[in-house]
Symmetry: C2
Subunit: 216 residues, 2 copies
DNA sequence: TTATATTTTTAGACAAGCCTAAAAATTTAA
DNA sequence: TTAAATTTTTAGGCTTGTCTAAAAATATAA
């Protein structure tokens, strides 16, 4: 239905739309590691196909159709990530690149059967919600550890940085999805955070605290 | 590593090489539903990359590298077909088109884990052998029913025609992989074949007999 | 063995998706 | 409010993979 490039642009615009409703050419170029001029070319094509709202120099937003397509790509991405971790025993830091390819397999019937085969999971290995076959999903209501009050207690439920390096670091520190933690102290000098987990104290940097999300 | 188009050309050349070692431009064009001029263009590129042996007007054959690549694509295709049938409960006539897309997912680690997950199957849903991770597989030694002697007895083990229409027909007649049959009679006038299966007589046309393979 | 038919290649063009360099529009700063 | 900086678009070009039409090579038939 849509080309690989079109799907990747729609996904990038969707992702950037989470932060600000109107997305700029340069933001898209950065997200896709391409050039602004290439982005402009594609934006004209996507607007032509009624997948985005676009007026020159004004940035873009997804149309309803565009958003539906984007959510469907995300559904496929996250279901394949779940499959790779739960069925093929990959680690959570190994699956993103493979899912980037697999998300473009087009059959709806295939993805619905895969969903059923795995028991209709609702979260991917990184804690992100998996849209159902209708495209419905509840957005996570999570906060970065750096933004919660002292003595707040919660469950590690997601990450902001999906890089292998970050995920491997978390794995090593046992800071994985589902773990219960308490924020003991935030050192004002450099925003280092002291956590309690499994009755032990643990120190994480400001950067890590910014990228690790908990449900209170 | 290789583009979608390159992989499809290599697979087509491999398939056509089964019949005759030197493959013609027109044969490839027909197999890929494209034009002879497009094939010539691609053949120059594949020769440049040392994937095929090509001299103008003389047809092509795969180099060792080219064959290795082709066998690997076939491994991926057949493993995904097996997955779709055995794990996602698709019927054998529904999986080919999906596998045509999935065979291009590049990760070797992924396909090896998938292989392990399914218990290292040796045949795909259509009876074709699945190459192992080293690319080794034993070619089927099968005969079309139309080519065996009267009173020969064997196991249905493969098909020559992979079309949905043919597979659905076989399904309806219960002529599926693993069934034991005996060739009772071949009517000389139109080569209609009378089989015995499950103690019942069954009549199939010359075309069906040509495309249904048995192991004696 | 020469003429004809068929196959294959070449020539030239096009769409998709990308690039660099330059121009135009917008934003920010003086 | 004008000047400078930044962002975005346009212009022109490149690669991949495709096409049609015409030319060249090969195969077949008289
Ligand atoms: Mn991912
Ligand atoms: Mn994920
Ligand atoms: Mn197949
Ligand atoms: Mn098959």
């Amino acid at each position: 239905m849509y080309t690989l490039a079109e799907e990747n642009y729609l996904k990038a615009i969707y992702k950037l739309s989470m932060v600000a409703k109107n997305v700029s050419t340069n933001q898209i170029a950065a997200e896709l590691a391409t050039k602004a001029s290439s982005v402009t070319d594609m934006l004209r094509k996507l607007a032509e196909k009624l997948l985005i709202n676009y007026t020159r120099y004004q940035g873009v937003s997804l149309t309803q159709t565009g958003e539906k397509v984007a959510v469907n790509i995300i559904r496929r991405h996250r279901l394949w990530e779940y499959f790779l971790v739960e069925k093929l025993n990959f680690k959570w830091d190994e699956v993103h690149e493979m899912a980037e390819e697999m998300e473009h397999i087009s059959s709806t019937e295939l993805i619905d059967r895969l969903d059923e085969f795995m028991g209709f999971p609702t979260r991917d290995p990184h804690g992100d919600p998996i849209p159902d076959s209708q495209g419905n999903f509840k957005q996570n209501d999570l906060k970065p550890i750096s933004a919660v009050d002292i003595n707040a207690c919660g469950i590690i439920s997601g990450v902001r940085d999906h890089s292998s390096a970050f995920l491997q670091y978390l794995e090593k520190k046992q800071l994985t999805i589902g773990k219960k933690i308490t924020v003991k102290e935030i050192i004002t000098y450099d925003n280092t955070v002291i956590l309690q987990m499994d009755n032990k104290d643990l120190q994480i940097s400001r950067d890590v605290a910014n990228n690790l999300l908990i449900a209170l």
